[in-house]
Symmetry: C2
Subunit: 230 residues, 2 copies
DNA sequence: CCTCAAGGTTAACGCTCACTAACCCGGCTG
DNA sequence: CAGCCGGGTTAGTGAGCGTTAACCTTGAGG
């Protein structure tokens, strides 16, 4: 391993600078669409100078993707543990997960893009590592969702969680800030969308956990509330 | 362009065979990750034989992407027009759009993957064409959504539609049929999730944002009673 | 039978691009 | 001052790959 763990956050430290620029370029034009010379140029050095910091182009991608998955999973686990420790109700625990993911999706849109676009360019070892972290992250969500909506089957919960990831991860497609409300408003909207989707996942048409906390569902002041009964 | 319109559906006609295999391979390993020799091998001919049918590798991708966007938009427009002609209520019109998109997402998962992964590999002309079709398709949805939820601002509706696309288009990430219910069940679940998300888009109560109590976010209790299927 | 076109084949070319080799230089440290 | 070493540099190399060239086969038509 490198002698350097990712501890220094104060100084951008070249290495991190390279990673940041590489992430941006990879997300913009794809892993194969970016040459090492470009990455070098983006940080002021030229071409093969990168090999003083990384074993190769693949290594950069690997470090990026593993880092992303770790950040996502660790963040999710931390939040889940905090929720459990604080004895929060299931709805609040799920909200914490959602907010964490939204922060990530809004702050690191490029990483989101990379994460599900270039996974298969990795070597077997690293790809398995990333997949494992992804599975664990999904597991956190599935547990949180099923705690709130116990009527969901395992499979339904899993599919729902995946699609909600798709929903939240669509931020890169939203275009520049010109076509998006300000950050806080967007985050709130994303949160409502995600919660709305999950609350409708149960086939019974009666969303809302029958569990301990069925209470907190109040809303829709001017809700359209279509009586859709055809 | 080609003298051949897409009329012959009876005979796979080599050309379409090539397109189908190319789509599969591109989706699997990315445009740059697939060589022409592989595409040729997939249809039983080898390498440069493809150039009897296409001007180049780019041309295959272009035809695929333009075809996808056209199919999506045309299908959506047809359904919208039918809904309007039949005098259906807004909810039913939106349901029609959702079902159309779900059919597409379930039947042509690879095309979905290509559609938002390799768009930037196109020449300016074709990329603009695809983007235009995409915009028009989004417009259909935005109109349908706002007809049903008039309280949504234009921006909110647009963002919500994009995220719902992200939700529906996440089917490729769901893994094989082993990790998915049967088609009909999955379609119904996706429909509920999409409707649930959209029904929660309107800013209900406190946009307290990140914060505070999670409960204030929640969602209309009786969400979409999906009138699906029949 | 000759021709012609459609649809293949293999060989080769040329370019891009990741990576290596060889060299260089400034700043610590002994 | 010597000497190492981290971090650059430029030139070169070799593989991969899209594309072209030249040639071959088959079947239909006058």
């Amino acid at each position: 391993m490198g002698t350097r763990t990712a501890a220094d956050s104060a100084a951008p430290s070249r290495r991190e600078q390279i990673l940041r620029e590489a992430a941006r370029l990879f997300a913009e034009r794809g892993f194969h669409g970016v040459g090492v010379d470009e990455i070098g140029a983006a940080v002021g050095i030229s071409g093969p100078g990168l090999y003083r910091h990384f074993a190769g182009k693949d290594a950069m991608l690997a470090e990026l993707l593993v880092g992303i998955s770790e950040r996502l999973y660790d963040g999710g686990r931390r939040r889940s543990e905090e929720s459990a420790a604080a004895g929060l109700e299931p709805a609040a625990a799920l909200d914490a997960l959602i907010d964490g993911h939204i922060d990530f999706a809004l702050d690191d849109r490029e990483l989101i893009t990379l994460h599900d676009r270039e996974l298969d360019r990795l070597r077997d070892a690293e790809r398995k590592q990333v997949r494992k972290l992804q599975r664990q992250y999904v597991e956190l969500w599935v547990e949180a969702v099923r705690a709130l909506y116990p009527d969901l089957t395992e499979l339904e919960a899993r599919v729902s969680v995946h699609t909600v990831f798709g929903l939240l991860n669509s931020t890169p497609h939203l275009g520049g800030p010109s076509s998006m409300p300000d950050r806080e408003t967007t985050a709130a909207l994303l949160h409502r969308l995600a919660r709305g989707a999950l609350s409708a996942a149960a086939p019974g048409a009666a969303p809302g956990g029958s569990g301990a906390t069925a209470g907190s569902f109040s809303v829709a002041p001017d809700g359209p509330e279509v009586a859709l009964g055809s």
